[in-house]
């Protein structure tokens, strides 16, 4: 009898926790403008750092990230013809609370894809977890040397434990 009560209480607590950390789905287009600095470049290996800023525009009904601004810095490597990217982003909501993301991916410029996960948050996003997949879909031509412009689709879900 006591065990049954304990199990029941445990299940109730689990249910409360699950609802408290409800997933908030998002599906947004992130367009950005940035600069890249090449550390070294050759046929065998290229390494560059990049820095870009931009904004999210929600796709469809999942409005979560609409109007959030974003700043990313990262590293691009091309080794043995394989290009990979990794780095971090700060996402800022209209109230000034932020989500910190780490990302990684692979693929050619203008067509790379990967994942980005939340690792920290402030204010309303304190304790955030989750993340999603991203895919660059703009093979755009740079308007000025040393710069790049692009857009990617980012979709997934965040959870906030509060």
């Amino acid at each position: 009898m006591r065990s049954a009560a304990t199990i029941a209480a445990g299940i109730s607590l689990l249910a409360v926790c699950a609802s408290a950390a409800q997933a908030q789905e998002f599906d947004a287009t992130h367009c950005y403008f940035g600069t890249a600095t090449v550390a070294f470049a050759s046929d065998e290996a290229t390494v560059a750092i990049f820095d870009h800023k931009g904004i999210y525009r929600a796709n469809g009904e999942k409005k979560l990230l609409n109007g959030f601004s974003i700043h990313c810095t990262g590293l691009t490597k091309v080794i043995n013809k394989k290009r990979t990217v990794s780095g971090g982003c700060k996402v800022l909501d209209p109230k000034g609370d932020s989500i910190s993301l780490v990302f990684e991916g692979a693929g050619p410029p203008g067509g790379d894809s990967g994942t980005a996960d939340a690792v920290a948050g402030t204010g309303a996003w304190k304790g955030v977890s989750g993340g999603g997949k991203w895919q660059v879909h703009t093979p755009s031509k740079p308007l000025a040397p040393g710069t790049f412009q692009g857009c990617l689709r980012y979709h997934g879900a965040f959870k906030v434990a509060n």
């Binding site: 367009c31 800023k53 904004i55 601004s69 031509k141």
Partner: protein
């Protein structure tokens, strides 16, 4: 009969000569009204999202004067030729004693390296809105004509001091010379 007709301005010779002049004028006027041979106007509707620098020359309650240099990409367009075009805009704006003024130019570059250039004027009373017109084009955009309007659809909180992030929806009608 002939004399009477001449007095009334009905001399057949006079009429034939002047009708030709008048007709020629009407044809010329018609050509002038339609301009150089342009294709039919096409509707244009796209969203461009940008980020860049915003620098304030003056920023006070009474007077604000600023300049922008922002770049981005056309992410959604009703005409595929405009999709993924990169964009860079230079502009200046001011708000002095409640009077808002803003003007600038935006250059769009497609994947073939062809460009078009538009001049915009911000609305005096609706922040984030304005009108624009094409002023130049190269390659496939040479001779482009068109006018339209724009309005901000998202404006994020600046991700860093001195920066600006926003998306604008742009609508217009444009035409290109017939080839």
């Amino acid at each position: 009969m002939h004399g009477q007709a001449a007095r009334n301005g009905e001399d057949p010779a006079w009429n034939a000569k002047n009708l030709a002049v008048v007709a020629g004028g009407i044809i010329a006027l018609g050509a002038g009204l339609s301009g150089p041979a342009l294709a039919q106007e096409s509707p244009l509707d796209f969203t461009v999202c940008r980020s860049g620098a915003i620098n304030f020359l003056e920023q006070s309650k009474e007077a604000t004067v600023l300049a922008i240099d922002i770049s981005g990409v056309v992410s959604v367009a009703n005409d595929r030729r405009f999709e993924n075009m990169t964009s860079r805009c230079f502009g200046v704006g001011s708000l002095i004693n409640g009077k808002r003024v803003g003007t600038g130019y935006c250059k769009f570059l497609d994947s073939d390296g062809d460009t078009n250039l538009l001049a915009y004027t911000a609305s005096a009373d609706k922040p984030g809105e304005g009108t624009w017109q094409y002023v130049h084009g190269t390659g496939k955009w040479a001779g482009i004509k068109g006018t339209g309007s724009y309005h901000a659809v998202t404006r994020g909180k600046p991700i860093a001091a001195g920066t600006l992030q926003s998306c604008n929806r742009v609508t217009a009608k444009f035409s290109l010379p017939k080839k």
